[in-house]
Homo-oligomer: 287 residues x 2
């Protein structure tokens, strides 16, 4: 018998998640069935989306999430990416299909353009970033942002955006939402495009959402706003994207930074810290 | 000398516009210069957008707007569409370019799909409408809506939308905004498309906008939202659209209804009534 640890959602979050919302459980795993693989988690991910996606879990269920794992039952130490849970010891995946790709998603929370900066710089775009600490700003400038500012210390987000790009913005990659998004919308150029993939600024207050954006921005500027989740792209398209991204990382065309927390027992702490913005880059937990 | 009457914005609206926000003025027009045409207003339009577009006017300026006019200085009584003002007696347009096309925009405020219903019904779409009176609902059903409900009397907008289309909605043409839009977004199908051309439900409270839509709707349903104004389409494209629309009206392929107020002196009253939803169809004032 193999023992496995997992973090469960003891009770649904009210406002900011706290340590007591989670419970660590240990279970004995049943023998493997045909097609199943025994995995050991190596790196686990904590992400903003978990704050709201957990609403769909029953209390007592294992937290959802992604991890990089190794197969325990093969000698070959090929890394695999496993399914959705905060399960450290082991995990089952019938028919593992993902190659060894660690997460390429960077700190997108308050640095919306970091992920695309490598590509956009090449294409001749001006890239502006906002982040919540001077350390993050220094990192953004280091990896080639044309302009970056600390949105927590500027007098006015609107003025900071105007100063960084007086002509306005063509594109905005949004993971912040709320008042921040409203202000950016007011600074878009006509026919600007906004991709929305997250809204971390409101996840702790979904019951009392802040005022919506001015319809004037959307109508008069004729903006296009599109929501998306990564699972839109499946099969070959996804496979190719993962390989391309890995290649660009290895070639240095995509810069990334990881914020690593050690120890599976610190999953809730890493999650809470990440929601508070304490991480510089992708928040990862080593099992 | 020709005398001309015009309605001016005496003071900017606070909340709901009132009669005292307007002032009727009479001026003597200077002699025509080369390239100018003397026009007499026949039909004037009052539209929701004027509620917020007036913010850009200086107090004392003539209210913006559109009208159908006749040329006073030609014998030919060819109708022309004039520029933006609530000016009744006359109006100048250097180089009149529009053929005699009255507005085809229907009552879109609480009947978002009426404009496209003729086309969509032909294309095999199911068309659902919401409006604020039983009389409007009867009209929607008369012109071929598959389903229509009075959003003011239903117990729950969400339930009414679910009942009218249990599988959700592919497209939504929004002129309402606010909480209404938020509820519709929650009932869209994945990859649904929303065209936003107005937001009448919030125009009287732009300083205290209602909560924004749930980011969950936009992200998880991967919705596409696009704002637009009619002036996006200029030149030949606009000319062709106006001719096509006129043709479809004459052929009966597009149904319309006008809510006519008599007398230029009643412009403010017609405008205020229209914002209160008293009109069935396009609100028009005869000069």
């Amino acid at each position: 018998m193999v023992k496995a640890k997992s973090w469960t959602l003891k009770k649904h979050f009210q406002g900011k998640p706290t340590q007591s919302d989670f419970e660590l459980k240990t279970v004995e795993l049943p023998p493997l069935k045909n097609g199943e693989v025994l995995l050991e988690a190596l790196f686990l991910s904590v992400d903003p989306y978990m704050r709201i996606a957990s609403k769909r879990l029953k209390e007592g269920a294992v937290m959802m999430g992604q991890q990089v794992a190794s197969r325990l039952q093969q000698k070959e130490e090929k890394w695999v990416r496993t399914g959705p849970s905060w399960a450290a010891g082991t995990d089952f995946i019938p028919g593992v299909s993902w190659p060894g790709v660690i997460f390429l998603t960077h700190e997108v929370r308050n640095m919306e353009l970091i992920y695309v900066s490598g590509l956009l710089t090449v294409a001749g775009c001006k890239v502006v970033g906002a982040a919540g600490s001077d350390e993050k700003i220094a990192y953004l400038k280091q990896i080639g942002f044309d302009a970056a500012f600390n949105y927590k210390t500027v007098n006015s987000l609107e003025e900071a955006l105007k100063k960084a790009s007086p002509d306005g913005y063509d594109c905005y990659f949004d993971n912040v939402g709320g008042e921040f998004l409203n202000t950016v919308l007011s600074q878009m150029k006509d026919f600007g495009k906004i991709a929305i993939c997250g809204a971390i600024s409101v996840y702790n207050r979904m019951d009392q959402l802040p005022p919506g954006p001015s319809p004037e921005s959307i109508i008069y500027k004729q903006l296009r706003i599109e929501g998306f989740i990564v699972y839109r792209w499946q099969g070959d398209v996804r496979e190719k994207a993962l390989r391309d991204l890995m290649k660009w990382v290895l070639e240095g065309k995509i810069q990334y930074h990881e914020h690593v927390t050690k120890g599976f027992e610190n999953m809730p702490a890493a999650f809470i810290e990440m929601l508070n913005g304490a991480n510089l880059g992708k928040a990862v937990v080593t099992a």
